[in-house]
């Protein structure tokens, strides 16, 4: 085989090998990343559902835990500046609806607290437990 054909074949194999390798490997790595992220989210959701079940929840409900500082106390609303609530909200100030059984009387503005939320999502999360931080 003439050398020029060898050179062309070599470059073509380089290009094709690199292209296929990158495409195949890159796509596989991306797919694995997605699968891993989905599995992790699923595990976290199941853990929250398990916690909620233990507290007598309805189907589909989850339970989240967070830490924060009480900023305002109203009869039907509690405003809390909180850290990130994993799987629900980033760190910010949010108003939450207190559950019927929650004892609000002891809460004062400025109190650092640990709290638990229960519901099916951010719009439906109810404050079900509060303890001093």
């Amino acid at each position: 085989m003439p050398v020029w054909k060898v050179a062309v074949a070599l470059n073509l194999s380089f290009a094709v090998g690199l292209g296929l390798g990158y495409a195949g490997w890159g796509r596989r790595a991306e797919a694995l990343d997605r699968d891993f992220e989905a599995a992790r989210t699923q595990v976290e959701r199941l853990e929250r559902q398990q916690q909620a079940c233990a507290a007598g929840a309805r189907a589909g409900e989850q339970r989240w835990e967070g830490r924060g500082i009480v900023r305002a106390v109203y009869p039907q609303l509690l405003m809390i500046t909180h850290e990130e609530i994993r799987g629900l909200l980033p760190a910010r100030t949010t108003s939450f609806r207190p559950g019927a059984t929650l004892l609000r009387e002891s809460l004062r503005i400025g109190d650092p607290i640990r709290f638990a939320l229960q519901g099916t999502g951010a719009d439906d999360a109810t404050l079900v437990a509060v303890a001093p931080w």
């Binding site: 050398v3 020029w4 500082i69 305002a72």
Partner: protein, 642 residues
Amino acid sequence: MRALLLTALWVHLGSSVLLVGTFFMPLLAGTSPAPTVRRWDATLLTWSRRLLLVVLGSGLVWLLARTSVFENRSAAALDPRAVWRAVLDTWPGFVWLARHGILLVLGAFLALAADTGQRRDWIAARAQALALATMALALLSASSHAAAIAPGTARAVAVDVVHVVATGLWLGALAPLALLLHAASGDEGADARPHAIRAARRFSRAALLAMLLLIASGVLNAAAQVETVGALVGTSHGRLLIAKLTLLAPILLIAAVNRTRVLPAVSTPRAMRRLAVFVGVEAGLGLTLLGLAAAMTLTTPARHAEAVWPFPFRISPELLDVPAARWRALIGSQLAVVGAVVLLASLLGRRRRGTLLAGALALIATGAGVGLMPLVVDAYPTTYRRPPVTYHASSIAAGMAVFQQQCAACHGAGATAPRVDLRARLTTARHAGELFWLVSHGVADRGMPGFETRLTETQRWNLINYIRALAAADGATTIGRQAELDRAWLAAPDFTVAVGPLAPGALRDYRGRRMVLLVVYTLPRSRGRMIELARTYNLLSTIGVEVIAVPTDSAPDAIRELGASPPVLFPVVTDGAADIVTTYGMLASGPHAEVLIDRQGYVRAIWRESGGGMPDAGAVQREVEQLNAEKSPPPFPDDHVH
């Protein structure tokens, strides 16, 4: 082990560069039926096979030596697991693997011993080998200092690739060219002379282009990795660069002589031999230069290293603010420009060249003397040292406490005592590193003692941050209730935003995202204003302003004290408030003050109680809208003083 690492890298770099040249030079020269040229071509092919073995061998030694340096134990070089980790678990190892894979393919290609009798086959064989050798050389950039530059990694690596490849094409081709010229200059090589002359002329043009690329990419590399004159002169990496440039000067001189004097008269065998010797010397110097490049690869880049300024003086451009210095600099620069014009005339003209040259040099020297002397200030080893302590409220407040304890007796409580006024231009024009030296070692002729043994290093840097804040506070008196557009100059000292036990944030976290209205307040005096802010917080938040409240009494239950109605939802600093109050109190003192900090991190407006009271939401909104309309926001301020 580091000596072995350096030697291996030097050999690897040199042989890789020569490998590129052994394929580039024949391609550049073209084919010829002359037997001497064919012998030269065959010799180069034999060279290339041996060089490839040297490249692979030195590459292996380099990997083993680097493994032992990574693991910080000599035995790691011969530990297969350690070498395995170095290759597969590190980015340089991965690049090493890719490069050596390409070199093995090149080895297989060279081992084919194919028939290259046809011109097309010969060109294909040399071009393919050149492409593989160049690819292996260029990939060195992927694990060089350039690859560690962020942001802008791709650009830095691309510039480095240009630098490395240009080196390979220019420097690598010198030795094969010298060999051809040497062969053609002898009696038995007379048949190769036309080919050698053509090759030398083509190389001359290619080398000029390669040299221009080398200089341009070298300047960009230096700008990215050295950054300052202090780093250039005061670090090992910078000094190696200076040595490299010093060595480049005779190389360029030889190249210029070759191009302008020797090459035009190369038709005679004697001239051809002389050119061969000159090119050989150029190649030898070039390989020494690669040794310096290898050493630079193994030293910390200048911009990250601690610079130790070696001279007792430096030029301070900051002193151009002083009118007398500015005038002298102007006159001196004009004299130097006239000198440069005369110098050009002396180089271009043919009559009275000596007189003109002497006059030009005298004018340039006089200009430099007149213009630069007023800008010369004392300098110290720490002149270009970067402060390890950031420009932070806690550091400034700590520096203030040290100042009151150790310095106020002489400098005055406000640091404005005559002769030792720390707000004077001569002090503010000083580098932070110079102040650090003066604080550490004292000023004997002024009776100032050194504090090196009395204060810790952190305390001395805190003091310098405080001195910088003093000067800033002096200038801040011109900042009022309305922001001056396109004039951001006062960097807001960073501070920690700690609200109860929540994870603390910092002022700099808001950079590029939101403006900050910093409210320093005192209850009960500020009660009305805080209620107003609580009511308008939604509006301010919507237009991109975060309100951060800091109580002057540093009360731990500050949130509760602000009351329940209306609810206060903005961050109220409950920890470290005293430092913020102290620091920002230098800009706006009083029981209540508000400071508007733009998205870039600069103080843009200050509302003081003594200066017309506090703004309403509408006033803040107007300032925010104006600042949003600024056409060219300044870059983020540095986190350290200079």
